[in-house]
């Protein structure tokens, strides 16, 4: 789909600080010079195109009582599909990427306790038959930011 200038401005506005007012879409529309209905239509279109993954709250998992970690596994090339299927089956594993390193499969894991994390990792070791898992929970968090300056984007279509 094509993303026009109004879409880009809209995305810039709703990426953070979505208004908590009675009629938020109308309020955003006023900033863009369009109606609240058109804001909703555009958001719906951007959601269907997969450009907006989700509109709502992004939570600080620690502050709401979850604990998380980043893990890496060495997976032989021919085993990648089988291992990915096992890893991806856990709802607490939200991200899983292949990366160019001998630790080639990298995933994040969230659970309600450290104990639960360890039991999931043990289960993964058993099911995959791969014992060499790096478990790298954060010791310090210096920055978490997922906003982008969309005005710098050159090829949006």
């Amino acid at each position: 789909m094509s993303v026009d200038q109004t879409d880009k401005k809209l995305l810039q506005i709703i990426q953070s600080d979505f208004p908590v007012v009675q009629r938020p879409y109308e309020m955003i529309g006023r900033q863009l010079g369009i109606s609240g209905q058109e804001v909703m239509d555009r958001i719906s279109r951007l959601q269907q195109a997969g450009i907006i993954r989700r509109l709502g709250g992004l939570f600080d998992s620690r502050k709401i009582g979850y604990t998380g970690t980043l893990c890496a596994l060495r997976v032989p090339e021919e085993e990648i599909d089988r291992v990915a299927q096992i890893i991806n089956s856990y709802p607490g594993i939200t991200h899983n990427y292949l990366r160019n390193h001998h630790y080639n499969m990298w995933f994040t894991l969230l659970a309600e306790s450290e104990q639960h994390i360890n039991s999931i990792l043990n289960e993964i070791k058993e099911k995959t038959g791969l014992a060499d898992i790096l478990n790298l929970p954060a010791i310090n968090i210096f920055k978490v930011r997922v906003n982008f300056n969309l005005s710098e984007v050159k090829h949006a279509d």
Binding site: I52, F59, K63, G65, L136, I139, K143, R145
Partner: protein, 156 residues
């Protein structure tokens, strides 16, 4: 610990905001609050940091940011906080964490950088190395996305 009410709000807000004229009213009705009470509660959860960001999560790869690299740095523990803060200050760095050193894994500072090309990421990492004096580092590019989903909290 979260109250039952807070958990309900988390469950609702992770479903996504409905596209109706008064979305907070719609959610409030489902959990037995008034629209105003819910809006106050959401603002409270934003200011106490439970809600890290309130708005749209984008799929940025579709918007021109095609290369992302995890850059890992071998930084001695006693310098980790200084280097971590320095790198976190760069606008191209979206995530910066310290993680434990492990046998066979000497890297302690993890940064995620986004660029429009791999070369751009490599140049940026070089600049970061010069700035920090850390010479042992690696760029790990993602070569395939096997899973990317939003976490669903408090569902079981």
């Amino acid at each position: 610990m979260l109250t039952e009410l807070e958990k309900k709000i988390v469950r609702e807000l992770q479903q996504g905001l409905p596209l109706v004229e008064r979305p907070y009213q719609a959610i409030a009705q489902r959990i037995g609050l008034s629209e105003k009470e819910l809006m106050i509660k959401i603002n409270e959860m934003i200011s106490n940091g439970m809600i890290r960001r309130f708005g749209a999560a984008l799929r940025h790869q579709d918007l021109g940011f095609t290369a992302n690299a995890m850059v890992v740095w071998d930084v001695p523990e006693e310098r980790a906080a200084t280097v971590g803060r320095l790198l976190a200050g760069l606008p191209e760095v979206t995530h910066c964490y310290q993680r434990p050193r492990q046998p066979g894994w000497p890297y302690t500072i993890f940064t995620v950088i986004h660029g429009q090309t791999r070369v751009q990421c490599e140049q940026l990492a070089k600049k970061m190395a010069e700035k920090t004096g850390v010479t042992n580092y690696k760029l790990l590019f993602s070569t395939a996305e096997l899973k990317k989903s939003s976490m669903k909290y408090f569902i079981d």
